[in-house]
Amino acid sequence: MAAHLSYGRVNLNVLREAVRRELREFLDKCAGSKAIVWDEYLTGPFGLIAQYSLLKEHEVEKMFTLKGNRLPAADVKNIIFLVRPRLELMDIIAENVLSEDRRGPTRDFHILFVPRRSLLCEQRLKDLGVLGSFIHREEYSLDLIPFDGDLLSMESEGAFKECYLEGDQTSLYHAAKGLMTLQALYGTIPHIFGKGECARQVANMMVRMKREFTGSQNSVFPVFDNLLLLDRNVDLLTPLATQLTYEGLIDEIYGIQNSYVKLPPEKFTPKKQGGGGGKDLPTEAKKLQLNSAEELYAEIRDKNFNAVGSVLSKKAKIISAAFEERHNAKTVGEIKQFVSQLPHMQAARGSLANHTSIAELIKDVTTSEDFFDKLTVEQEFMSGVDTDKVNNYIEDCIAQKHPLIKVLRLVCLQSVCNSGLKQKVLDFYKREILQTYGYEHILTLNNLEKAGLLKAQTGSRNNYPTIRKTLRLWMDDVNEQNPTDISYVYSGYAPLSVRLAQLLSRPGWRSIEEVLRILPGPHFEERQPLPTGLQKKRQPGENRVTLIFFLGGVTFAEIAALRFLSQLEDGGTEYVIATTKLMNGNSWIEALMEEPR
């Protein structure tokens, strides 16, 4: 069912099975038929862990979305609330429980907190007088959810905002917990590297938690050699740029949620029915799951979009050739063999058709003049051209009232690429934005400034060129078809975060001390000693495995760049990626925006 999770260097299915087991154990504690009342936000991530069939096997008969007033009628023995530990949700639960009590047969209530039980929430339930109604109050420590064979995410939407804007470290604590769970399953990670304030804190918590767990000595042979913790605010630039990989563009344009994407249906009408096709055009969005379980997708998702077309046409030829084979099948044996391959071929053809349609949709966008203009401006900024004055394109975008997020992304990008804007330039942009989009956005602008995405230049030095040159962030000679460097994911710009990871593995951070000092937050290294029996003797030519954890979110382009590094023959390091949230510039800025109305 989730075989693709086990294809990577580290078998993440182990983690998935562990969390599934924990869920089953809880469900079995509540004997009899059950209904689950869902915190809506959790349904997406849960879909990756347990399908309805698993729940059904454990007597879950009904599912509801958590909302006020009464619960819908359900003839079940147990009602299980599956929620994040949030006070506002507790109020709703209390309302549900209180209105339930008055009618009908009594039912058993349970509450399962994801990912952590909260004293605060229980106190609230107590204050509302319903705490005693719950028979089981437990936590389901679903911190890191396996998304793909090399990808884990906490899907914690507000993590960046909470950490950098509100000083709330809850998600860091969960990240540390998640890492402890990982270490319990995959062995203690002997080396921890990190850059950034949050990274430091997570590492501290891990050391602390390890001390708490002494005694239950971990005897699992370590799978990971290194852990690299990276703060998002060490690299604010990368997510702001438009991702140019296939997967990145799908996400930029349509948004990928919990590995699913919803696409406009027009391009996906089945071609078979010739008659009356125009009539019943599907109106519902086409929903597709995107992960490495799909062979074709695994091959093209990390390619620069410009290299996708040729792969698709090559595939098309191979598949039609394969179908042509049937004319050559003469003997019964040959026909039988052909037929046995049919399902696989048909799946491949379906997959090809889907991705051809998606590629067409994307191409419509990427060939538009505006997309081109925007990209040109982005690339100018990233390569250090005219970052210090008001940009005409941005000005025109504002004047034509282009989407605010797009404008903010560009202004922030310029600010980051100039180590802050001149006060005059910054004030100009801000004034333009407030006058055009409304004064209420002053709150959003304040937030962006607080997060460091937007700032006035302090001091005279612009550090970005130094960083760019030392880390070789801008590569003029980029090969999109057969890349030789990670910069292909942005057609020229090499993501800073990934460059840091690359340099850490070879030749080590000592070579870039100076730049590390310019970037915000401390950089550090911790060792977690292993008992001698568990120390690894590496075979010659065997790659190290590094778990890289992005605190505050990661983009698909960065993931693509890391996968590119993993696949390099002489790379020496393979990466498994973990993050608080899979995101892109839009969702990131959106989370930081504040609409007071």
């Binding site: 804190q201 918590m205 005694g215 004034r431 004064y439 209420e440 002053i442 304040n446 007071p596």
Partner: protein, 839 residues
Amino acid sequence: MDCYTANWNPLGDSAFYRKYELYSMDWDLKEELKDCLVAAAPYGGPIALLRNCWRKEKAASVRPVLEIYSASGMSLATLLWKSGPVVALGWSAEEELLCVQEDGAVLVYGLHGDFRRHFSMGNEVLQNRVLDARIFHTEFGSGVAILTGAYRFTLSANVGDLKLRRMPEVPSLQSAPSCWTTLCHDRVAHILLAVGPDLYLLDHATCSTVTPAGLAPGVSSFLQMAVSFTYRYLALFTDTGYIWMGTASLKEKLCEFNCNIRAPPKQMVWCSRPRSKERAVVVAWERRLMVVGNAPESIQFVLDEDSYLVPELDGVRIFSRSTHEFLHEVPVASEEIFKIASMAPGALLLEAQKEYEKESQKADEYLREIQELGQLIQAVQQCIEAAGHEHQPDMQKSLLRAASFGKCFLDRFPPDSFVRMCQDLRVLNAVRDYHIGIPLTYSQYKQLTIQVLLDRLVLRRLYPLAIQICEYLRLPEVQGVSRILAHWACYKVQQKDVSDEDVARAINQKLGDTPGVSYSDIAARAYGCGRTELAIKLLEYEPRSGEQVPLLLKMKRSKLALSKAIESGDTDLVFTVLLHLKNELNRGDFFMTLRNQPMALSLYRQFCKHQELDTLKDLYNQDDNHQELGSFHIRASYAAEERIEGRVAALQTAADAFYKAKNEFAAKATEDQMKLLRLQRRLEDELGGQFLDLSLHDTVATLIRGGHNKRAEQLARDFRIPDKRLWWLKLAALADLEDWEELEKFSKSKKSPIGYLPFVEICMKQHNKYEAKKYASRVGPEQKVKALLLVGDVAQAADVAIEHRNETELSLVLSHCTGSADGATADKIQRARAQVQKK
């Protein structure tokens, strides 16, 4: 060897019983045992004695003394009994002493005479007094059964989870039963009692008469009854000197015996071994002890002094003033080996080993004999097993030596049974030592498990021995050493004469970072003893904040709890402390505390943002955080206020705050917003329509679309809208209206700051090619090609591009050349491009 079986007594044809001394008792008893209430715990447990002076009606001024001894007679505790008259004593499974008073109160003492707690057996018992009481053990724990003065029974099956059950009445019961006992059947406790010739069984709800199967006639009264250790068998002693032995259900008789002694026995207990077919009871009178089983003859012993019987899993312990003995059926392995003239493989192996030691060749003969029969494995196993049942280390050693000797002649004999037996015996011999005084047999030890044995050592404060055993057996630290150290520490904190520093240091020295030790448990114990300071010191060593914090809160050290919670990074924990602090401190102090803890402060702000907005404002005020105050009021202006005046007032407060924060830009912007709001309201009043809450940009656009150009211009000037943006804005608004005339006028009003391409674009967007063409000609040279292509004039675009000799432009035009009409143009461009490329 001959004398080794001297203390073996045959009972019938198939079984031997032996009695051997465990200890000569170390106690110096002033009283006779018969003058005392006695209670001895099973599994070699402690013995409690209470001089029962109430019944003797001695002078009330002399208080009785409660004494507790180990099984070897070492004194563990002595205390004056200051409470009411005691009817019965008994030990719980946790080795707590339960003292049942006449009034139904049960006082619970620890092994060292420390008072633990008390509970009552209910009002009915209090009123009718306790006539008799029994403490019994079931798989759930220890129970108390009480016979009241009203001849009713009340029982609780588990004193740890006290649920009193009043048993049904026995109809027309006029006198106390002659004897009674508790039974345990199907996990439920019952009571069996005898009144005259009748037996009654009381369960939950009913009282039923029962008759033992095959009971001899002529019984007019039952004098004694005994239930076996596992509740499976029952023995009845009648006034005719007849003993009936059968199953506890009374439905099956195992055997019977007539001892012809009519005097009521003092005690009767079962003596059987698990998995043995033999059943026997031991009956004790003043000076006589009799073992009775399925045999025509009984075994008789003379008792020199007052003795007391303690039933065990696999035998009976008998102690008196001077000795402590164990009586049991000789286990099969021992019997096989030691029986006179035994030819069992084990016996031969033992003999072989002895000869070997004597360097005699007979060793070889014996060995050969066993090997010929192919019984060497069996011989080794027998010797190992028999060693387990021997009490004397010497005999254990010779048997183990024999086993080891035999092992040499075997290929691949799995060594674990031998090793394990050596280890077990080492442990058993250690705890049997009279200093320790736990005379466990091998079977009892296995039943009890090492964990419980360790607990019992801990209970006796024998920490070093317990730790040695753990280390010797290599138990995992969490179950073994750590647990014991933790218990030791809990005991240590109760030593009130040692200073806090010394205790804390001593504990940390010994425990260090031993995995699995919970410092918070120890601290909780210290706090329980009123040593708060010590508890705090101990908590310093606790690595788990989740454990530190609740205790610190309980001890009212909230501020310390707060910093610990923060250290942990567990925000939920921090919140918990914060809410605690909020209730505990006055507002000012609370805020001051927060001020020193930035992380807590930001968390609390988050909490307030969702739960208590006013507090949030106060927090910002306190910190002079004017920037955030400004944002706060901006939010307020949208959230709460409906009226313009209110909103403007909130914005004014915000602007003031921004000024204080030296954020000139935000202040000015907020003032602009106020100005705009007022203006929008005026516009709505004067022109009608919807203006409020439009952005400035949209307001101006709306005005233009409404034909109020003058006002729009005015507004743009007032707010200093840059020319460029105003042009874009106007262009879009006029195109929206499709007011082409006005647009043309506007385009000619002065030179466009945004060029003329946007004009072309917007006209084309409205599908007005005619108008678009007008502007295409005015587009500057750089964008001319683009403009011409937009209006569809490919030929002219080509000319311009060729003129510019610009390759990009040429390609662009070429890509627009479609169909045959543009064929000539395409050729022209191809040629031009070739020329450009040449250069």
